[in-house]
Amino acid sequence: MLAKRIIPCLDVKDGQTVKGTNFVDLRQAGDPVELGRAYSQQGADELVFLDITASHEGRKTFADMVERVAATLSIPFTVGGGINELRDVDRMLSAGADKVSINSAALRRPQLIDEISSHYGSQVCVLAIDARQEEDGQWQCYINGGRIPVGRSLFDWAHEAQERGAGEILFTSMNHDGVKTGFANEALRRLADTLTIPVIASGGAGRMEHFRDAFTLGHADAALAASVFHFGEIGIPELKQYLRTEHISVRL
């Protein structure tokens, strides 16, 4: 049976991970490659490396890191942050990334999705959406790290992206992100039940039950989290054992 995927996300700035880490046995705790390897050994199914550097030098450092990750890891990984055009995608794939995640750039110029999927295949293109449920109950998309609303509905945009050739939707609920009270299961379920491409849940993981709920209630295909893994609040082996006892198919 196809396994539900558990995906740690690493924020990288100037070649170093920014969030704290509980991996005390690493030689260099801030090294994304070392951290990625540790997650892979623990049973992470995929990894996401997000470049949050603004500078040009930082971008170069990130590409070097991607090369080292590709040489080291034997599981799939996605890179995101600062991907605005086909040339950026090409640079990341040439460095050895399996997939790229695009967000604001696609909302500004949706054609980017068509370009990526026709050049490299849909499986390369992960469309990330940051959305907030407003007071009227509607889910609205935001760009620039959740700072600017763009007046598009989450569901409309996700469907358009699928039509344009996105291979997966990575949906982060801004209402749930960092709150640690669970994923946005209702919105997730609506996405998962109406899209024909996989949906990755993001934002809200605090306890192991939250992952279960994202799969059983939210119908997500994968769940992504950062701090609960980085701070060691949840270990991936324990999480997968737990999910298996809850009758969810996972890779052990």
Partner: protein
């Protein structure tokens, strides 16, 4: 060991190169027929579209070359599909090494998304059509790619087209219906999944191939 990777401009081959390097092999990526012919082992990986891939192979005379190879060759993902007779993708005649046609997944339920993407478990065929072939092969050959393999281990897939279970099937995976996760005939091996992205299980499968 001299390992050649067939270069036919079908997607990302870096991960295959890296995976081999982790096993201490420095492969050569080439579309040069002579170079491929004299390699000890040949890898035929790739992602992409069947018709485009076949056109490239034909234009470079690689189609007949691959059919004629006598050393172990491993097709991966679209490589497996191209080694079959025909693909529904672009209604494309393929290499015909495995006498079976490639079909597109047709979801029966909503949760069955296409592409089939992610980790799924393998069943090494000891039943179904595998029985008929067992007598034809030595035990060692049977074990081949899956030596040291434990039933139900997970490997990584990304594909929208599949090879049905057939007489060449040596491993199956269940998605929408059981399909061929791996094929074998003589010196020709193929996997639908990506051993180069399948963690330690995939690493073992690649090592087994290199040790054939």
């Amino acid at each position: 060991m001299d390992v050649a990777i067939v270069d036919y401009k079908a997607g990302n081959v870096y991960s295959v190169i890296h995976a081999l390097q982790r096993l201490g092999i420095d492969p050569v990526l080439t579309d040069d027929a002579e170079r491929i012919r004299r390699a000890d082992k040949v890898l035929f990986p790739g992602q992409g579209e069947a018709r485009q891939a076949m056109t490239y192979l034909q234009q470079h005379g690689l189609d007949q070359l691959i059919r004629d190879l006598r050393q172990p060759i491993l097709g991966i993902c679209i490589g497996q599909q191209l080694m079959c007779r025909h693909s529904e993708e672009g209604d494309t005649p393929c290499l015909g090494i495995f006498d079976v046609d490639v079909h597109r997944f047709r979801p029966q339920h909503h949760e069955e998304k296409v592409p089939h993407m992610g980790w799924n478990s393998l069943s090494v065929a000891k039943d179904a059509l595998g029985d008929a072939r067992r007598g034809l092969r030595s035990e060692e050959e049977q074990e081949g790619l899956f030596r040291g393999f434990e039933e139900g281990e997970f490997v990584y897939f990304v594909h929208s087209f599949y090879v049905p279970v057939c007489e060449w099937t040596i491993a199956t995976t269940d998605y929408i219906q059981p399909f061929s996760a791996a094929l074998h005939r003589d010196n020709f091996f193929a996997t639908q999944f990506h051993p180069e992205k399948s963690g330690s299980v995939g690493e073992r499968i690649l090592r087994n191939f290199l040790e054939l």
